[in-house]
Subunit: 262 residues, 2 copies
């Protein structure tokens, strides 16, 4: 079994709809590549009691808990104090991080708000931030990162080598224009029953110039995934559609904008 993970997105701006999350998809893909199975994503508000309780709950349930958001210098950045509380340890100046931030800031500008970014839960290991110095950190199985996507990504790449991974997830897509889910459902279910170790998903797509269905086989056993792909391809052809390997062209993240048929 691959290790499991959960992403905890901390931020009112996602729950109000002000901001579109831009971190989950990146992390989901990278975790899959590392052989870590992402099992859940939660988005919660900047409310201390909620953050503390959720961290306690989720870090017990999953091998890794990754958080994004709430580690900046303003009053609404309360993640780190909550992580410390969840672990029952002091939230205190981390001398090395303090020195790095002080050196980075313009003389006289390293005020109390900015010094908060050098405070970590006791026992945490900093994650370097090559963009703006203020660190993320790991404590136990909890990995705390910034919410700003460019910083989060840089932090994750610094964190990744220390994450114990498993076998990478392999996936294989076949699609066919004009195909409808309702036409292929029965045959697809038969393949899924025959190959329980492979996860077979059915995803309709709609582009300005085409619509159809993409069928994705996924798993950690590359041979089984390949075998499922052969079966999926044959099913598409048998039903009179033209199977094409891969996702449909011009598939953009988020572009699954609708379908009218099933």
């Amino acid at each position: 079994m691959n290790p499991t993970a959960c992403i905890l997105v901390i931020g009112n701006e996602i729950l109000s709809g002000r901001t579109q999350d831009a971190n989950v998809q990146f992390l989901a893909r990278r975790l899959g590549q590392l052989g870590i199975s992402l099992r859940e994503v939660r988005v919660i508000p900047d409310v201390s009691e909620t953050i503390v309780g959720t961290i306690v709950e989720l870090r017990a349930r999953y091998d890794h808990l990754l958080t994004t958001g709430g580690i900046g210098p303003t009053h609404d950045d309360i993640t780190s104090a909550c992580v410390a509380e969840a672990f029952g340890v002091p939230w205190e100046i981390h001398p090395d991080s303090f020195a790095k931030l002080e050196a980075y800031m313009a003389p006289g500008s390293f005020n109390a708000a900015r010094q908060r970014m050098a405070m970590l839960p006791r026992g945490a290991t900093p994650i370097d931030n090559p963009v703006s110095v203020a660190p993320g950190y790991s404590i136990g199985n909890v990995h705390v990162m910034a919410g700003v996507p460019r910083i989060m990504r840089a932090m994750f790449e610094n964190l990744a080598p220390s994450l114990a991974g498993g076998r990478p997830v392999v996936s294989l897509a076949w699609h066919a224009d004009g195909m409808l889910e309702g036409a292929i459902a029965e045959g697809l279910e038969a393949i899924q029953r025959r190959m329980p170790a492979v996860e077979i998903g059915s995803y309709p797509y709609e582009r300005p110039d085409r619509r159809g269905v993409s069928l994705v086989s996924k798993g950690i056993d590359a041979d089984a995934v390949a075998e499922a792909g052969v079966a999926v391809r044959a099913l598409i052809a048998e039903l009179g559609y033209t199977p094409v390997q891969g996702e449909p062209p011009s598939a953009q993240p988020g572009a699954a904008a609708g379908t009218a048929g099933s």
Copy 2:
């Protein structure tokens, strides 16, 4: 107190990173406009036990639980069977929905897979689907919608009039190019302390041609929000930056692509 809500996104394709969620931001905004307070978002996989347990947990915790995904015709669409199990009721043909779908489908094509889309938990009230007929539904405080964004949006607009709302959330943004969070943090916190009924958030932005911080005051008391806006504006000016009302131009959803300063 406004009614509370949680969004439950059901789908392996989000957790694998294959698909960028395109529903949460829409629902978050619409719920805010209706005076319903979105408190949590969860993304979970297409695993029966997980779906049932999560529905039981969340519908007890929030006034409304909205789900997206997993109500199509293929084997990986298991949401409805799980909702029925969570409510302890049969999952059965809904005659009116069956008749509508049968009339919509080409003669001879209304097969077993498609007939599953006419099965609802007993006691559910259908939500019309003007795009592809197969309905969503409400049962108790759980509102079940498609995952395809175009269909989900149409379903939500049909559902919205039946949701008991509260006072709409009002928000007011001021931003300033060149401003850094670390410079404004202390003054901002003082405003937040003075005005606990307003939620004041600080959001750095970075555009190709500008970077700065956006300060958002939000709440259901429009007068208090306006008063907070005046204080925020004054603070920005006092610190030597030029306050501009609204979000920074060219703010795109998801464009909070990074910031180097704090």
